[in-house]
Each structure stands twice: as C-alpha cells, then as structure tokens.
Symmetry: C2
Subunit: 194 residues, 2 copies
C-alpha cells in the first residue's frame, strides 16, 4: 500500500473501532464498517485484505493507545512507589475509557483466534516488563526489597488482572478506587524495605 494512503486506512480503522465495539467481530459486517465510513464495501478491500485484517489493526491501535497512556502516566511520577500506584490507576482508567471495545474484546468467541492470544501475551509481556523496570528502580533506590524480580512482577500483573475482572462487574468507581488503594498498600507493604 502506497504512502498518502495512511489517512484513509486510519479513517477506516476509526470507524471500525466503533462498529466492533458495538457489535463485536462476529456481528460486525464489512457493510457496516463501509457505511460508517461512507464508502462502498468493496473499497475497503483496497486497504485491508479481510475483515480479520481490519480487526487486527483495530486491536493493535487500541493496544498502542493503552500502552502509551500507561507509559505517559508513570513517566510523570518520580518515585518508584508513585509510579507503581499510578500504573495501577492509569491501567484501570484506560481500560475504563476503552470499556466498549474491551467488552467486545472479552467475547469468548474471540478466544479461538490465534492473533488475539498473541496480542494478549504481548500485552502481558509489556506489563511485566514495565512493572519490572519500576521495581528495579525501587530496588536501586533502596525503597523495595525483592528476592525474585520476575516472579514478583508476574504476580503483580496477575493481581491486577484479578482486580480488572472485578472491575468489569463493578459500577461504583469510588469503591473501585478504594480497592486499588487497598491492593496497592497490601502489595507495597510487602515489598517495601523494612
């Protein structure tokens, strides 16, 4: 695909996000996406090879937004402690903002797709690495005391996943933020240098 084409590809992706968010991969049709973009269905195939191809692009885009939101948020903090707490909240907020796309993303039907599994595991890696780098800084600054860095980072990510599940069904944002703080404090007091 040529150069200036980027804009229209992006346009299509943007429409597709909404359609996928509303209907999920299965029920969203190329016709739906095309209409939302004021184009004929066949035009889409000039930019993407298949519906799955568009979906991949959507997932990639939303994933990148999620990652950069998290990275930006923790970049604003100086202390590893604050970075960690901010990471928690930024993750929840970003996920909250993406709630629609995300709920489509949770669709069990998607689990069968290999590229979704790949994306998930890539995102897991990103999270573990990010947490690890925060923990490392904490160790260097003598704020944290951790035996097994990998295992600790992994455990933290798993813990957040648990919270995320709870979050999916929790409407009370206030209560949720308190949960985040509680989990954080519990974790923090476990790893803080005594």
């Amino acid at each position: 695909m040529p150069e200036g084409t980027k804009d229209i590809r992006d346009q299509i992706i943007e429409s597709a996000v909404k359609i996928f968010a509303r209907y999920g991969l299965r029920k969203a049709t190329m016709e739906d996406i095309a209409k939302a973009n004021n184009r004929a269905k066949s035009s889409l195939y000039h930019y993407f090879s298949s519906k799955e191809d568009i979906f991949k692009a959507v997932i990639k885009r939303e994933g990148n937004i999620l990652k950069s939101e998290i990275l930006n948020a923790i970049a604003r903090e100086k202390l590893p402690t604050d970075k960690l707490r901010t990471y928690f909240k930024a993750r929840m907020n970003a996920l909250n903002r993406l709630a629609n796309v995300y709920s489509a993303f949770q669709d069990e039907y998607l689990e069968n797709y290999k590229f979704i599994q790949k994306f998930r595991s890539q995102f897991d890696s990103f999270e573990i690495e990010t947490i690890k780098s925060i923990l490392k800084q904490g160790i260097e600054k003598k704020i944290f005391e951790i035996d097994d860095l990998d295992l600790t980072a992994f455990t933290i990510v798993v813990g957040m996943k648990g919270l995320e599940y709870h979050w999916a069904t929790e409407k009370d944002i206030k209560k949720l933020n308190r949960n985040i703080d509680t989990l954080f404090d519990l974790l923090f007091n476990g790893i803080k240098r005594r």
Copy 2:
C-alpha cells in the same frame, strides 16, 4: 398457546430484551435468544411464531413498564403543577433506564415496520391523554388557563420529544435536569393563571 405457559413466555421475553438491546432487531438471532435462555432455537417457536413476534412482545412489555412508571410517578403528586413537572422527569428517567433498549428502538431500520409505527402512535396517544388529564385538573383548580386543550397537550408532548432527542446525545445529567426545569418553567409560566 396453553395456560401455565406464561412463565416461560415471560422468561423468553426477558432474555430477548437483553439480546435486542445489545444487537437490535436485525442482528439479534433466534439462536442468540435461545442460548440466552438455555434452550434450543426450535423451542422458541413453541411460544412465539417468529422473531418479529418476540420483538413485538418485548416492545409491548417495555412500553407497559414505561407507562406504569410514569403513571405511578405522577400519582404520587397532588398539585397539577407538580404532576406536570414529575411527568417530565419520570419520562426522562424511565427512558434513561431503558437507554439500551431504547437506542435499539431508535434504529432507523425499525422505522419500516408497521407495528413500530403503531406502537409509537399508541404511545403518543397515551402521553397526550395523560397530559390532557393533568391539564384538565389544573384548569378545574383554576391553576391553568388554557384555550385549546388538545392543541396544548399535543404541543407539550412534541416539546418533550425535542428534549428527548437532545437527551439522547447529552451525557451530562445535571445539565439535562436543568434543561427540564427550564423547559418546564417556560411552559408553566405560559399556561399559569395570571
């Protein structure tokens, strides 16, 4: 359909509400509804003759809920003035609560169905009659002064529809409630006995 059958019919309608709310009439499949009800698709046809038939039942049910919520709300008020204001708010709140179903209901694709048009016009009649009865009480109690009752009731309903349209795109509930009050005051000062 036999007698004790009612329970299961209702069960099916309840599942169907959720499915229609999520996907709309077009994209909701009998299979979806059946699954949500832990039944085989063919079982549904024992209780309903078609998908459209289920949809009609859903619309009827939600319409009745809407009506009774409104009627209950205004029954709690004594003064015609308060009844009118309460009507406004109850209508908005009920519609708000039914937001999902309602958004599916707004689908342009539905406009082609005759029974939807029929339902709409029946609901319009209900609203106009309800408003008229409130206005009548107001006139009797010398609180309102109205020339053409029918035309006034009609105008009020049309006004609320306009607000409803605005509401559909307005996320700020606070602002919306202020709008309701404003519209109400404007209207009220127009019909109040001087």
